[in-house]
Each structure stands twice: as C-alpha cells, then as structure tokens.
Amino acid sequence: MAALALMAAARLLAHHSFAAEFDAAKRVTLKGTVTKVDWRNPHIYVYLNVKDENGAAAEWACEGGPPNVLLREGWTRTSVKEGEEVTIDGAVAKDGSKRCNSRTVILADGRKVFAGSSEDNAAGRGGKP
C-alpha cells in the first residue's frame, strides 16, 4: 500500500505543455459510452460517444496520461472497457476540436479511474521570469 501511495504522490504528467493545447478554464463534463480505449504512447485516449439533449451523437477524444505512468499507478488498458458508460470531466481543446484532457474518469458504479492529469502539475509549475 505504501508503494501505491508513493506512485499516487508522484502523479505525473505528460511531456507536453498542457496549456498549449487545452484550456484549463473551459471545463466540460462528458457522459457517454466508451467506443475505444487507445493505450499507446505518449498518451492514452478514451474515445466517447456522447449524446446531447436532442439525442444527436458526437465522438469525443479524451487524453489521459502516459501508459507507463498509469501502469505504475496500478491502472491497465482494461481499467476502462469498450461499451462502458463513463463520465469524463476535463479541459477542452483550444482549437475547437472535440478533444479534452481528462481530469477525472468515473465509471458507472462511481469508481474513479486513471486519477491524475497533466493539468494538476501544469497549475503547480514555476512561473515566468
């Protein structure tokens, strides 16, 4: 358990600058069905089929951490499965595309998965000179 705490404390982020791509101030909550989990480097992606209030469906791509970071935190490529209903809360892409950087991914039974997002560390980074 101590090892897991150590890994959780080292919640780590992507190599890239979060803020060049995602807007921390523009949050989105997406509720939908997982169509695909892409467990590849440098970042995993959870693809979601999201229906709006009119029933129109749109596909969103939500970026998560690097697979190896998630593995060391105990997550695997099957922690979220195709067909599952999930709720993803994250920051929206700055270029208007249907992409988000996941902050939390919550399964239908309320369990949180993939805890840890590049935004957390982006907020804590050193300031301008």
């Binding site: 600058s17 791509e21 970042h43 980074r125 050193g126 000179p129």
Partner: protein, 264 residues
C-alpha cells in the same frame, strides 16, 4: 462444509473489495513491472529497506545501479527552486524563454517526441536505470522513451570540436563517493525543461550524483552554456529509487498533440 464455503465466500468478498479499492492487482505480464530485484536489502516483512546503507562495488566505490525516478517539478521548471533572477540569462535567451512561456511551450521539441536534454531525461515522468559496468569502465543509463547514454569512465578526454548532436558525449569520474559526469557536443535544439530554458551548441552539463543510501540520491546539475547564460548555474535534485521493478517500453507511436498545440 457449509462453514468452509462461508469462509471462502468471505475471503473472496474481501479479495474483491481489495480489487475495487486498489486499481488493479499487479499485472504480472507487464514487462516485469513488479519483480524482486536481486540484492535488495529488505525489512523483516520483506519490503525493500530504502534507508539501508549505500551498496558498494568490490573496489569500495558506491554502486549506483538501480531504477531511479526524478522529481517532476524540475521537468516542468529546472529552476523551480531558484528565484527568477537567479537564472543568469543572456539577453537573447531571456527573450526566447519569455516567448516560449508566452506561447505555452507549443514549440517544445519533446512534444514532438524528439530527443530530450540531459536534465530532462533525469526528471521526466518515467524512470531511468543506471547500470554500472565497472569491468568495462563505463556507466550506462537506460531510459523508457529515450536512447541510452554511455558514460565513459576510462579517463578518455571529451572530443575536441565534436559534431553537434542530440545525445552529446559523456565522460565520468569519481570524486570521492560522487560520480561526476561531463557532457558536451549538443546541438542547441533541446530545452532544459518544459517551460523552455534554452540551450546552445556551447552547452556543457555537469552532473554530480551522490547515493545517500539505498533508496535516495542527490543530483546536482550545473548548466554551463556561455552562449545562453552569463555564468554557470546549479540546481539540486533528488531522484529516488524504484525498487523491484524494471523499465517499461515507451514508443512514441500515437502522438496527437502537435497538431492541436495552438499556444496561448
């Protein structure tokens, strides 16, 4: 029989509860993610003793071999522990650094999966492995997403007028119990961190590693790049050992970020 079934049922429920609380039971298939490392000093409970004394080579020098994880805040800002005016930028370098901050590091070469600077390799979100090949007078450092480094310990000089490169040229020596590594011959394209502290072809990086005990290292990095900075400057970091694990593969095969990194 019924009591046994009940006991088994409770045990199963307990195991399932544990599976719910802990994200996943250790995936034994994942490239030795969890595998006991030979020679690890252990407590009575069998856990790695991270404060055991530093292991030593037969010649008495510290053995730095191990899988180590750097500190993420230095990946974002190598100068995280310094005051802003403690980084002695040349004027052009200060302006370029500001431009990189103002554009949210959208031009970061590491975001293109290009090779990382020496400081970045030791601070990114994945571990590095030091292997002391004492019999061959070299140290080898392995990484998950980066090419390895060979640090030659045989007394050879650094090359004069080296071909500029991504990976540089490294030699090392012992100063007491400190491993000191000098690296030159870089191409100036790498950033020292995500925030974008610049480098040039004049970069000379000095790393001083000191293994404090089994699980802890101190690392002092000196950035000596007269074209980018008016004098050398130092930062102090503290990698920690990841016991009972190995490096994992990290192939940059699905890089979607660059197409969407618009900046501010």
């Amino acid at each position: 029989m019924r009591r046994l079934k009940k006991a088994l049922g409770s045990a199963l429920l307990g195991a399932l509860s544990l599976a719910v609380l802990c994200p996943a039971s250790r995936p034994a298939r994942a490239q030795w993610l969890n595998y006991p490392t030979k020679g690890t000093p252990r407590t009575a409970e069998g856990k790695p003793n991270l404060t055991a004394p530093t292991p030593r080579r037969p010649d008495g020098k510290p053995d730095l071999t191990g899988v180590w994880m750097g500190v993420t805040k230095y990946m974002i800002n190598i100068a995280a522990d310094l005051k802003p005016d403690e980084v002695p930028f040349q004027p052009w370098a200060a302006a370029e650094f500001q431009r990189r901050r103002d554009t949210e590091s959208k031009d970061d070469p590491s975001a293109q999966c290009l090779p990382l600077s020496v400081p970045l390799r030791q601070t990114i979100t994945s571990p590095f492995k030091v292997i002391d090949v004492a019999a061959k007078e070299e140290m080898v450092m392995l990484y998950e997403g980066s090419r390895h480094r060979e640090i030659f310990m045989d007394g050879r000089p650094l090359p004069k007028d080296p071909e500029p490169s991504w990976y540089g040229y490294a030699v090392g020596r012992w100063e007491g119990d400190d491993l000191v590594i000098d690296s030159i011959g870089f191409n100036g394209k790498e950033w020292l961190d995500i925030n974008g502290h610049p480098t040039t072809e004049a970069l000379h990086v000095v790393e001083r590693y000191h293994r404090i005990d089994f699980g802890h290292m101190s690392l002092e990095i000196t950035i000596d790049d007269p074209k980018a900075y008016t004098r050398p400057w130092k930062v102090k970091e503290s990698p920690r050992l990841l016991p009972d694990t190995e490096l994992l593969e990290a192939v940059c095969e699905n890089n979607q970020d660059p197409a969407h990194m618009v900046g501010k």
